[in-house]
Structure formats: structure tokens, C-alpha cells
């Protein structure tokens, strides 16, 4: 069920009506769970079973971890929980990669390989599996520094089970995040009141999200279509550069738009989801980029992978290795294809190479150098997006080569014009943030209302042709 479909809007309205009915207040969590089931099963009804199984495993394991006294039993249960989650993820997500690799590199081709290649990919599995792992690990850690404490796992198993179902299946963030950690979500599970909704924040977030997705991303997607092989080979260097720039804008608008919609809708039900994008394209370093892009994922990877394998506490060389490995796995998380691993490796190496010079680079702080740093980071990140768009690394290299060799080829002015046109709001969006930050500038309330009015008008009359969110495929 797409966020930009009538059926989804209908689902949200109906759910809100029932959810805030005073006589049904005690059933709010069940209502959200049922709506989430409807949301998920609309696209893949059979795979709802897998979602429920995954949530159930995490509910049972976290419950037993919490009420066991012996540390070794907790550790064993935690390990089992993590492994089960990873097993489900590997089987459903990476079986095609494994089977195609066995076929390609080892020439194997039998019934097992054929079976593996036909395993369906459940939407959102990467997201809900990570949330399941978060629940299991957080329960084990009993982290008292955050909001989480052992009283968040309810003594009544039925209540805990339903809370876990909500945590895993909560529909605004179920299929494409933001990934929320258990220690941030569970404390929010309680009765919500209609009068507590901050409509201003929720509606502005939703309108902005839909604008980024439906007006910007959906329009840009039709222009960046020509990045595909072999079409890009006939375009000029300028066209190729602009198309790549456009794809960078598109992927931001698509994913940030989705996240904003998810955050806004979750807010309507009384739940705060973490910010997932914080103006990433103004980053002056790769490490800064990863504190601004897909923040929930990078935060998850840091807390549940990077730090447990040593983080930066085991010496310089080990830190570089840890960074590279975490990013490589983070890349693979995006998709069952070696190109995503390459993408992750690309970013990992950038982080590792930058690290020794990080503090010195940060000390160079004048306007021109900051601009240069931003351009370098943006260019690097943008080139890496080619691995998302094209089928493999050799096509990405070919595209890059064409940028230098296609100087005299055909300039596609309509594409160039359209990309620059639709990218302009993203540039304004980032520029506004910088100005606000530097000069503590606030827009007049009437001007803000006018701008949001324009965004809504554009949504109605100027949406692009609808498509699924890019991150749905992960």
C-alpha cells in the first residue's frame, strides 16, 4: 500500500477515528496493530505470516531475557534471538544473491539453487528485522542511561506481546523506516488523547513529506530514467552530470519525503519517531554525512554493530577496519546484490581514509574551504548513487567514463531543464536550513502558511506519475 494512494489515506482516517474514540481508548494498541496488519497484507498477504512470526519470536525471547536472572541464560537467549532474526533476514533477502553467486561463480545449478532463487522478498524485512534485534539487545543490556529500564517489558506476557507487535509492525514506519530502537519506542506505549495531537507539527511534516515525494521525487524519476544502461551512452557529458545530480536529488526527496510522512503520521497517533534526515547534502565530511543521512540506520549500525565489534577503542587500524566492515554490511543491508556491498565499501573506505585527517580538516574553517569540502563530499556521495541506479559496478564505471568522453554528444536540454527545475526546491530547502542556523532566522508565520499552501496546491495539481518509494525495495 503506497503512502501516496487513496486507500492509504482512507486507512489512516478510519484508524484515527476508531483509535481516538473515547470508549475504545483501552484498545488503542490493538487497533494500531490491526491497521498495521491491514496495511502490510494489502501488498503481500501471505508474508504477513512471516511478519507475525518475526514479531512473536522477538516478543517471546525479549520476555524471557527480561525475567531470567542468570546472565549466561540472558546471553544465550540474546544470541539465539539475534541469530534467528539474521536467519530470517538471510533466508528471505539473500537467498537470491547466494543462488545467483553459486550459479555464476561456481557453475552450480540444481533444484536447491532454483528454489532459493524463487524465494519472495518481503517488503520491509530489513527494517523490521533490525528493530527485532534492537528489542532483544536492548532488553539484554537493560540500559538505564536512556529511557529504557526493565519495567518497560510488561510482566503480563499478553500485554508485552501486543506491545511488541505494535513496535515491530507499526505501519507508518514498517516498510521503510525510520528504524526505531526499542528503548525509544516502548516508553511511548500508553493511552493517547486526541487533544494531545500537535496538529501544526504533524500536518506540516506530512505536507512537506508528500511534496518531496510526489512533486519532486516522482517528477525527477522520469528524467533520471535515462541513467539506465545503455541509454546514458548517447548523452553528452553535461547531460550525464546533470542527470546524476538529479538522481541524487531524487533519492533524497524520495527517502526524506517518505520518512517525513512516516514521522508525521506516527505523530497523529501520538508516537515520536526519530528524525531520519538532517539536510545531508550540506555535509562537509563523510562522517558528518552519516550523521545526517538515514540517521536511524547509521545510529543502529553504530550502536549494535560498530561499538560491539570494538568501535574506535581498539587502535587506529582496527578502527579503520571496523568502519569499513560496518559500512560494507550496511551496504549489503540495502539490497541482495554485490553492487550494494560495493556501495557500502565505497563509503567505508571514505570514512576510513578521512579519519586520520578529520580533525585537521575540521580546523580549516573558512567559507571557501567549507564550500569545497561540501562539494567534494556531495560529488563522492552522488557518484556512489550510481550503484543504486545501475545494475553493476562496471556500468557505473562506464557512466563515469562517458562523463569524460561524451563531450561532443547530444545535450538533452529538456531533461537538463526539468532536473534543474525540480532540484531547485531541494537546494532552497538546504539553503534555508543553513541561513536559519547561521542567522537564527525565522520565517514570518503568515509566510510559512503561504508556503505550505503552495506546497499543498502543487501536490494536487503537479504531482509526478506515482511510483513506489525507492527504499521499499530494501
Amino acid at each position: 500500500m503506497l503512502f501516496n494512494s487513496y486507500i492509504f489515506v482512507f486507512l489512516v482516517i478510519i484508524t484515527m477515528t476508531i483509535y481516538y474514540a473515547p470508549f475504545l481508548r483501552n484498545y488503542q494498541i490493538i487497533i494500531l496493530v490491526i491497521s498495521s496488519f491491514i496495511f502490510y497484507s494489502y501488498g503481500q498477504p501471505l508474508l504477513l505470516i512471516l511478519l507475525i512470526i518475526s514479531a512473536s519470536i522477538n516478543a517471546v525471547i525479549s520476555y524471557f531475557i527480561n525475567f531470567r536472572e542468570l546472565n549466561r541464560e540472558k546471553l544465550l537467549l540474546t544470541t539465539i534471538g539475534i541469530l534467528l532474526n539474521l536467519l530470517i533476514l538471510s533466508f528471505f533477502k539473500y537467498s537470491t544473491l547466494i543462488s545467483s553467486s553459486l550459479k555464476t561463480y561456481f557453475g552450480l545449478n540444481n533444484q536447491t539453487i532454483s528454489f532459493l532463487s524463487r524465494i519472495p522478498l518481503p517488503i520491509g524485512i530489513s527494517f523490521y528485522t533490525f528493530q527485532g534485534i534492537s528489542l532483544v539487545v536492548d532488553t539484554f543490556r537493560q540500559n538505564k542511561n536512556g529511557c529504557y529500564n526493565k519495567y518497560m517489558i510488561n510482566k503480563n506476557f499478553k500485554t508485552h506481546y501486543i506491545n511488541t507487535l505494535l513496535f515491530i509492525t507499526f505501519f507508518p514506519q514498517l516498510v521503510a523506516g525510520p528504524i526505531i530502537k526499542a528503548n525509544l519506542f516502548f516508553p511511548q506505549i500508553n493511552i493517547k488523547r486526541f487533544s494531545d495531537i500537535k496538529w501544526d507539527y504533524a500536518l506540516k511534516t506530512i505536507v512537506l513529506g508528500y511534496f518531496l515525494k510526489m512533486v519532486i521525487a516522482d517528477q525527477l524519476k522520469d528524467q533520471t530514467y535515462w541513467i539506465s544502461f545503455p541509454y546514458y551512452q548517447s548523452y553528452s557529458s553535461i547531460t550525464l552530470c546533470i542527470m546524476l545530480f538529479g538522481y541524487s536529488m531524487q533519492i533524497f526527496a524520495d527517502f526524506a519525503g517518505y520518512s517525513l510522512i512516516a514521522i508525521g503520521i506516527a505523530y497523529l497517533f501520538g508516537y515520536n519517531l526519530p528524525t531520519n534526515f538532517n539536510f545531508p547534502y550540506i555535509s562537509k565530511s563523510f562522517s558528518e554525512f552519516w550523521t545526517r543521512w538515514h540517521i536511524s540506520l547509521s545510529s543502529w549500525l553504530k550502536e549494535y554493530l560498530y561499538i560491539p565489534i570494538g568501535g574506535n577503542k581498539k587502535g587506529k587500524i582496527r578502527t579503520y577496519i571496523n568502519l569499513t566492515v560496518v559500512m560494507l554490511l550496511g551496504g549489503l543491508w540495502h539490497g541482495a546484490s554485490w553492487k550494494y556491498a560495493m556501495w557500502g565499501l565505497w563509503h567505508g573506505l571514505a570514512l576510513a581514509i578521512e579519519r586520520p585527517f578529520k580533525y585537521r580538516l575540521e580546523s580549516y574553517n573558512n567559507l571557501l574551504l567549507n564550500l569545497l569540502k561540501t562539494v567534494v563530499v556531495f560529488s563522492f556521495v552522488t557518484f556512489a548513487w550510481l550503484l543504486f541506479k545501475l545494475d553493476n559496478f562496471s556500468q557505473a564505471l562506464d557512466y563515469f567514463k562517458c562523463i569524460f568522453t561524451n563531450i561532443n554528444k547530444f545535450n538533452n536540454y529538456p531533461v537538463i531543464l526539468a532536473i534543474l527545475f525540480y532540484s531547485f526546491p531541494i537546494f532552497i530547502y538546504h539553503a534555508y536550513y543553513k541561513i536559519k542556523e547561521k542567522f537564527d532566522f525565522k520565517l514570518n508565520i503568515y509566510l510559512k502558511a503561504f508556503i505550505y499552501g503552495i506546497l499543498m496546491f502543487m501536490l494536487v495539481v503537479s504531482s509526478g506519475s506515482p511510483s513506489a518509494f525507492i527504499y521499499f525495495q530494501f
Binding site: Q223, Y225, Q233, S234, L417, V461, S462, S465, P466
Partner: protein, 256 residues
């Protein structure tokens, strides 16, 4: 101004649905036929072909629009294309497609941004259009695309169910009085007799014979040029159109 091919598809369909559904001659096909722009066609003919399109989608639009053209020309090159359910769903949104009849600004080509882009194009795009039409063919691209096309279209398509559906839809149109005509768009000569094309030809011919439809003679592909082994150049499009219009004249004369 149409900004991209997705919009072009939509606009073509919407123009047909809201303004041209009474035209006597309608073409249905893929991007190959879509290169024949409406501006060079006579008033009595509408080209409902579009990128990613094909017989199934076009026929569905004809029937849903209650259109009953005298002649329906169906391209066979990509006759096995899947029905574009997404396009159909968006064209015929339950309430919106009725509202769009009355509120023209909700039709895609009249969206504010498209009107603005048209204004910009009028002022800076004319030379570009001429450049596009007179562009020299890049033979390296043609060779590279030819090799890809030979691989991509090397398999024999599974057409059983699709042809059955096409026959059902065309029969509905025939029962309303339409004459069904199949035609093949010129492509690179080296692709003319690949197994896929031969198979499609024989399957369509069987359907034509069984249902008393018409099949236009295959053009001599060596007299046409393509930009990418599949899509013709503008000059070749004009050349082909002249032949097609003569064929249509002949069919009309025979029927009269």
C-alpha cells in the same frame, strides 16, 4: 510541454479519452509507433501508442472510453507487452477521471508546472527541437543497441494467454463495427527475421485468418533508418507514414 516520456504517455491517453475518442482511425502500439507524432497525422487519425505501451493497454483504453473507431491499427512488434495496469489505474481513478473532464487543469498537460515548462520551452527550446530532428545517426550507438536488441529479443515469447485476450478485446471492437488491422513497424534489417519476430508474425497471421482481420504488408526495412536499431529517425518516420496512409486509403476504398 511534456517533460518526459511518462508524462507523454499519460497526456496521449488523456487527450484521447477527453477529446479524441470519436476519431475514425486509431493506432495502438509501443514506443516504436509513438514516434509518429500527432502533429504530422491527419485530423481523422489518432496515435494512441506510447512508450511501454502495446495492444492490450491500448485496446483496454479504447473499450473503456466507449470508443468505436472505424479502423483500429495494432502494432505487432511488441504485441506481447504486458498490460500497463498502473497507467490504466491512474487514468481511470474512480472519481477523478470524471472530474478531469470538467476541470481541465487537472489533466496532466495543463498542470501549472507543465504550462510553465512550455513557456520556457517556447523561449529556449525551438532550436533544440530542430537539432533533435536533424541529428546525425550515431552508428556506434546503433551497433551497440543492435547487439543488445538481438540478445534481448532472442527468445520466443509466451503469447498464448495474451493473444487470447487480444482476440477477445478486438472481437468486442469488431462487434461494434471496427475493422481490425495489424501492422509491423520497420526496424533494423538485421532484426527483421530473428526468431521472435518470425514467431510473432506467424501467430498474428493465424489470428488474422481465423477472425477475418487485416494484416498490412511488411515494409522493406532496408529503406528505413533507425536511431537505435528499433526506433526510426524522423525522416524515416515521415517516409513510413506516407506508406501507411496509402494502405489506410486502400482499406477504406475496398470497404466502400
Amino acid at each position: 510541454m511534456i517533460q518526459n516520456f511518462t508524462q507523454a504517455n499519460f497526456v496521449r491517453c488523456q487527450r484521447f479519452i477527453y477529446n479524441y475518442n470519436n476519431v475514425p482511425v486509431v493506432m495502438i502500439g509501443s514506443s516504436m509507433s509513438a514516434k509518429i507524432e500527432q502533429e504530422i497525422l491527419p485530423d481523422w487519425m489518432y496515435n494512441l501508442s506510447f512508450a511501454g505501451g502495446g495492444a492490450l493497454t491500448g485496446l483496454e483504453i479504447l473499450l473503456r472510453s466507449n470508443s468505436c473507431p472505424r479502423l483500429v491499427l495494432i502494432e505487432t512488434n511488441l504485441i506481447d507487452s504486458e498490460k500497463d495496469i498502473y497507467l490504466l489505474k491512474n487514468l481511470y481513478k474512480p472519481i477523478l477521471w470524471h472530474i478531469r473532464k470538467k476541470m481541465v487543469s487537472l489533466q496532466l498537460e495543463y498542470q501549472p508546472l507543465n504550462l510553465l515548462m512550455s513557456f520556457l520551452k517556447e523561449n529556449i527550446g525551438k532550436e533544440y527541437e530542430a537539432e533533435i530532428k536533424n541529428r546525425k545517426i550515431d552508428q556506434d550507438i546503433v551497433k551497440s543497441m543492435l547487439s543488445i536488441a538481438k540478445t534481448r529479443y532472442s527468445h520466443i515469447p509466451d503469447m498464448g494467454q495474451k493473444m487470447e485476450e487480444i482476440v477477445n478485446l478486438t472481437q468486442e471492437l469488431k462487434n461494434k463495427g471496427s475493422i481490425i488491422v495489424f501492422y509491423e513497424m520497420p526496424i533494423h534489417p538485421e532484426l527483421t527475421n530473428i526468431p521472435r519476430m518470425k514467431y510473432i508474425r506467424s501467430t498474428v497471421k493465424k489470428v488474422v485468418d481465423e477472425n477475418n482481420y487485416l494484416y498490412l504488408p511488411l515494409p522493406d526495412n532496408s529503406q528505413f533508418e533507425t536511431v537505435d536499431s528499433i526506433h526510426m529517425t524522423y525522416n524515416s518516420i515521415n517516409k513510413y507514414l506516407a506508406i501507411l496512409l496509402k494502405d489506410i486509403e486502400r482499406i477504406n476504398a475496398n470497404r466502400n
